[in-house]
């Protein structure tokens, strides 16, 4: 007596009247614009073969606000307010980028106090931004605890910012010609307390998430982009450095007081999700080292070198200035006709240029890996749409 062991395919084929094998077809699925792992309103149209991603078509514009158009009708000092609304997790760096472009073109000299404070707050914000990313990254991959840890620790920096700047997210603190306010008397102490608090916490981050075997399996080798492709795709910041390109404007073209502090640039080797994860963790460590070197030696001086009401006119011509935010290079291209408003202001935002590498990196990986790749890019959608 023979026993017949069937298969699922056979079981289904029996149901089909013509006995043909199971037919397959590619299909399109919308991911977003309302989707927890797209961090805002990013829509991806996916061409799927089963669960395998064959093509990613990003669809943008759900929060396009026309910031560049508005900029043509605003003074430079006013435009700084809009820059907060680009990448809201790097609001201070964005303020700084606009201010630096204006200061360079209008030849405004700053004192050391302003430069040191700017550098400290920008690095604090880099840590804060990476903390949030780390938490959300864990959550995207199915671990909820990191989200709470990340937000808990981020809260301390946000409180420090609130005390000095009066605002927690869109600070509008760095202005052309200096800073909106001087630092609060508690600023130095609270920042040092934070460093003491956060150092052991970063070790905890590693034991909680980095050393988790599921994390390692889901990140290592996934979504690789080599150095040449990353450069051609316009990637900057941690995404580019993860592919092994040591490109960091803080080192190559130091602004602020980055040329007076010691720090290392974290780079990856293979350009997979794991490298992008690790690079950001290391950057938090380096940022703490930078703050530590500066926090005890903030020079005396004024926090503003020009009158806040002074009108700013840039000379006729064009200027391109950029700096390194937590996500990459933010470039400001200003064309001035000599008036108080820019004739044209263009923002080269890091997220817009980093986003497109998913069209290559996520190809032929599974849907779950696409989430890992997307999350490892640390996308902030308002910065893409502008």
């Amino acid at each position: 007596m023979s026993v017949h062991v069937s298969t699922l395919e056979e079981r289904i084929r029996l149901q089909r009247t013509d006995g043909s094998p199971l037919a397959t077809q590619e299909y399109f699925v919308n991911m977003g614009p309302q989707h927890p792992s797209t961090h805002g309103v990013l829509r991806l149209v996916l061409r799927l073969d089963g669960e395998t991603v064959r093509e990613v078509i990003p669809v943008l514009g759900y929060i396009h606000r026309g910031i560049e158009k508005m900029g043509e009708r605003l003074g430079y000092r006013q435009f700084v307010h809009l820059s907060d609304r680009l990448d809201y997790l790097s609001a201070l760096s964005n303020n700084w980028a606009i201010s630096m472009a204006v200061e360079k073109a209008a030849k405004i000299e700053l004192n050391d106090r302003i430069q040191v404070i700017r550098t400290i707050v920008a690095e604090l914000q880099r840590i804060q931004s990476h903390q949030l990313w780390w938490g959300v990254f864990g959550m995207d991959l199915g671990a909820f605890t990191p989200f709470l840890y990340g937000f808990r620790d981020r809260e301390i920096i946000t409180d420090i910012f609130e005390e000095t700047m009066g605002s927690r997210l869109t600070m509008n603190y760095i202005q052309p010609g200096g800073l909106m306010f001087d630092i609060h008397p508690n600023f130095v102490k609270r920042t040092k307390d934070f460093l003491t608090y956060f150092k052991p916490k970063l070790v905890e981050y590693e034991t909680l998430l980095s050393e988790n075997v599921i994390m390692q399996e889901r990140l290592r080798g996934v979504g690789k982009v080599d150095a040449e492709a990353a450069v051609s795709l316009g990637c900057t910041g941690p995404v580019l450095r993860a592919s092994g390109v040591a490109h960091d404007l803080r080192k190559l073209e130091p602004y602020g007081v980055y040329d007076k502090v010691q720090f290392d640039v974290a780079i990856g080797r293979t350009g997979d999700c794991w490298d992008r994860y690790w690079v950001r963790l290391e950057e938090m460590r380096q940022s703490m080292a930078i703050i530590e070197q500066l926090i005890d030696n903030i020079p005396e001086g004024k926090h503003m070198v020009m009158k806040p009401a002074a009108k700013i006119k840039l000379p006729e011509g064009s200027t391109y200035t950029h700096l390194e935010t937590a996500r990459g290079i933010l470039g400001v291209y200003i064309v001035s006709d000599g008036s108080e408003e820019p004739y044209r202001i263009h923002l080269r935002t890091p997220n817009f240029n980093n986003l497109w590498m998913i069209t290559e990196a996520a190809k032929n990986w599974r849907l779950g890996d696409l989430v890992a790749v997307l999350s490892s890019l640390d996308i902030v959608v308002p910065d893409i749409d502008r």
């Binding site: 490109h247 011509g317 200035t321 044209r344």
Partner: protein, 158 residues
């Protein structure tokens, strides 16, 4: 390479390239018919090796001067190998805004050019996927043109 030697190397490649005035970095302006071949050589020439296109955008000059005016296409290039910058600009007439795509040279240009199409209506020849990027497909007009108007825009108080 410093600005002078860089500009010299580029005029050797393309004699019609002219230095652009009032810029803070090395900048050249090229006629649009010489533009594509120059861009290719800027990347492939080992002395120049501009492997990164930082940004591409356009400027609508129609609010200055008479007539239909021009669009200025602006490309900010950077070389990872040598660490030097170059701004390349090309002018195209506003009533026939056609330019070659540089997306075969730098991949990121594909999306940067889509943004410029979306905002200025510049038509890129041989672009593999020229569509609106931020606005809906049926949107009327190109918002960053100086003469753009729609019903949502407010009049500026004097």
């Amino acid at each position: 390479m410093d600005t002078l030697r860089l500009l010299g190397a580029i005029t050797a490649l393309e004699p019609r390239a002219k230095q652009k005035e009032n810029t803070d970095r090395a900048a050249v302006e090229v006629p649009v018919d010489a533009f594509y071949s120059l861009m290719g050589r800027l990347k492939s020439d080992p002395q120049l090796a501009f492997d990164m296109l930082y940004t591409h955008t356009a400027v609508d000059w129609s609010a200055k001067g008479e007539g239909p005016g021009e669009f200025e296409l602006v490309y900010q290039l950077y070389s990872m190998t040598h660490g030097h910058y170059l701004l390349v600009s090309a002018r195209i007439p506003r009533d026939n805004p056609v330019a070659p795509t540089v997306s075969p040279i730098w991949k990121i240009a594909e999306w940067q050019e889509r943004e410029v199409y979306d905002m200025f209506g510049v038509l890129y020849e041989n672009h593999r996927d020229l569509r609106r990027l931020f606005l809906e497909d049926g949107w009327n007009g190109f918002p960053l043109r100086k003469d753009y108007k729609d019903e949502f825009m407010l009049e500026r108080p004097e």
